[in-house]
Amino acid sequence: MLTVWAILIDGFIYASWLFLVAAGLTVIYGVMRILNMAHGSLYALGAYAAASALGWYYSGGGENLVMAFAIIAASAILIGALTGLAIERGILRLMYGRDEILMLLITFAVLLILEDVMKLIWGTTPYFAYQPYAALGRINIDVLTVSRYDLLVLVVSVVIGVGLWFWLERTKIGKILRSIIHDREVSEAMGVNVRRMFTITFMIGATLGALAGGITAPIISVVPGLGIEVIVLAFAVVVTGGLGSITGAAVGAVIVGLARATSIHTMPELELFIIYAVMAGVLIFRPHGLFGQVIARKI
């Protein structure tokens, strides 16, 4: 019974982190039809920014936990939004209308460039910003323990998920974005400034990626190559759930999270295999993912 509880707790905690990482990726694809490989770098940038800012705060004698969380959010959001704006305005806007594969290759190039930029700025030494993670402590459940920080990540993930849903389904800008998702050309003909909406969407997606990195920074050691590791997992989740679907990303994250937790607790040697086995299994029966929509090709 203990193992079942452990699987459920670990599965949902991991799923919440996966969703955080994947949300920005799926928002950008849903609206812009760009499979943004640079999302991994935005995650890493957020992690580096938060780790640096926290290091600065704590080395200056800071102890206030609320302030530490504010620093994480502010640093990650700032770097995510600015980098997103720079990528969209500086590179992507010149490429709109090109083939999806070409856009994927361009964002892959951006990922590689940003990886080296991060080395130039932060070097290769791992960064630790463990203080918020350690300060929150843990909850004991029999022999099991759960980090309160992990539970906080779960709450943040739910808030972001609900917020994204509300933004897309219940706001005017959400309606405009949905109209672009359904038909870009008709939206433009109706007076929607599609390019401006693309800029906003990319900045939001990039900010979500950086925020995921910033929130993760106190848990891990922030090292070069962090973004490349993450992007593969994020792809597995959004492909399982269906590219471009927020609900799909959430459900995909829960399925992958629970499957992985089950494997680790029962057959740890299959930990990696199980994630991609789930993805492959879903794609065999639903080639567009669980919530992916088949789009008719215009002639």
Partner: protein, 439 residues
């Protein structure tokens, strides 16, 4: 003889700046030395300058090598290396990034030998790279020293090595040493668990450790082993899985940022107050844990390196110089790289060559030799004189008043943790360590 006058000798040494690291990641860069001698000895130095292994291992190793190379050229090393240069020649180095995998490293190696025209190669942290380079070094007849890689298969896969040497210990010594330390200091431990990175290093380490535990602590039960992905970062689920097994000991061969992340997370989650962790590469985190590992956590340094270095003139000089340049004591990768450069100087100075020693002369000088190093006396006593035999040390981490130190340090002689020459290491453990000498 090569026309060494045509070789560029760069005035400034490398590394230390992120810019140089980024440059190195796309190719080869120069490193070196003052230019006063007419002839120079050119060594290729291969280490991780990018990727997850660069921060904790690759860059400290390059920094350790750089300090020794600079001192060699200045003639400022303590005895017995207080002569200027190697065999009187200025030591010049070419640093190459080890990132990219074995296939790329073989290409880089051939490039070093055939285009960069190096006289020797020192390098390789990754076991996969070592295994790929060993046969190529023999084929190209190039004197090569592996300074860090831990695979016990290196000399199993090279029949009658002539040019390949290793001046560090293999993973078998790490894990036999770990089992011996537990048998002495935690004899009542019953439930043993592990967490290893999911690739050859982690799998081999766990195999060697469990084989040694079966011999040394037969009452102990192996209850679980987790195998997370390399550079995974977050180990929340693995920690839960370990907790449900209620282990007394958690063994890990994880290294670098992964090892430090796991330790910090397991500490917060309480796993390390329920069980004692034994980290075979933990010494690299000695001055980085900053109290995030509980006191009593058992650390290894892959031999008498880093915080386990014995007190001697070389180790004191090396520690002082490293602290002065980098503000922190040298970790074990830095010490191991320094040891390999000292081995090169020893071989060159002892070669009896006039001018630049050939690979054959260097190999003949180092084969089966004993030389002094930052880790004490190194005996090239295994693999037909090509593999170092050294003690293995473990100790407990203690952090007080902002200072970290090792306590309850125990060392085991080389003969106590390494299989005798010609023995398959795993077979040696399974047979109960025949010929072992732990005195």
């Amino acid at each position: 003889m090569k026309n060494s006058n045509q070789r560029p000798i760069w005035q400034k040494t490398l590394l230390g700046t992120a810019t140089s690291v980024a440059m190195a990641s796309v190719g080869v860069m120069g490193m070196a030395a003052t230019a006063s001698a007419e002839e120079s000895f050119k060594v290729g130095f291969v280490t991780f300058l990018s990727g997850g292994a660069s921060g904790p291992f690759g860059v400290p190793a390059a920094q350790g090598a750089e300090i020794v190379i600079k001192a060699i050229n200045e003639g400022s090393l303590p005895a017995p290396y207080n002569t200027k240069g190697v065999n009187g020649l200025t030591l010049e180095s070419v640093v190459v990034d080890e990132a990219g995998g074995p296939t790329k490293q073989v290409e880089e190696y051939r490039n070093l030998v055939q285009r960069q025209d190096v006289d020797a190669v020192i390098g390789y942290i990754s076991s996969g790279d070592c295994l790929a380079i060993g046969p190529v070094a023999e084929e190209m007849k190039m004197f090569t020293i592996a300074f860090d890689c831990g695979t016990s298969r290196l000399f199993q896969e090279i029949e009658d090595p002539q040019y390949m040497f290793r001046t560090g210990l293999d993973a078998v010594a790490d894990n036999v040493g770990a089992a011996r330390y537990l048998a002495e200091t935690r004899p009542d431990a019953v439930r043993i668990a592990g967490i290893q990175q999911n690739y050859a290093w982690g799998q081999d380490s766990w195999q060697d450790f469990t084989l040694a535990m079966a011999q040394l602590m037969p009452e102990a039960e192996i209850v679980n082993n987790q195998t997370p992905q390399l550079f995974q970062g977050s180990y929340s689920t693995e920690i839960s899985a370990l907790q449900t097994e209620r282990p007394d000991i958690v063994h890990s061969s994880m290294w670098g940022g992964d090892m430090e992340s796991f330790t910090a997370q397991a500490n917060v989650r309480g796993l390390l107050s329920q069980a004692t962790a034994i980290l075979t590469t933990g010494e690299s985190g000695l001055h980085r844990f900053d109290g995030q590992a509980p006191n009593g956590t058992i650390l290894g340094g892959r031999g008498p390196f880093g915080g386990f270095m014995p007190e001697n003139d070389l180790s004191e000089w090396f520690t002082q110089t490293y602290v002065a340049e980098h503000g922190t004591p040298p970790s074990y990768p830095a010490s191991k790289a320094a040891q390999a450069v000292l081995a090169l100087k020893f071989a060159a100075d002892s070669s009896g060559a006039e001018g630049v020693p050939s690979s054959e002369q260097l190999a003949a000088a180092l084969k089966g030799a004993e030389f002094e190093s930052v880790s004490g006396t190194v005996r090239m006593a295994l693999a037909g004189g090509h593999q170092a035999l050294q003690p293995m040390s473990y100790g407990e981490y203690h952090f007080e008043n902002g200072e970290a130190e090792l306590r309850n340090v125990r060392s085991y002689s080389g003969e106590c943790v390494s299989a005798p020459d010609g023995y398959n290491a795993q077979q040696w453990i399974k047979e109960g360590f025949p010929g072992v000498d732990c005195n």
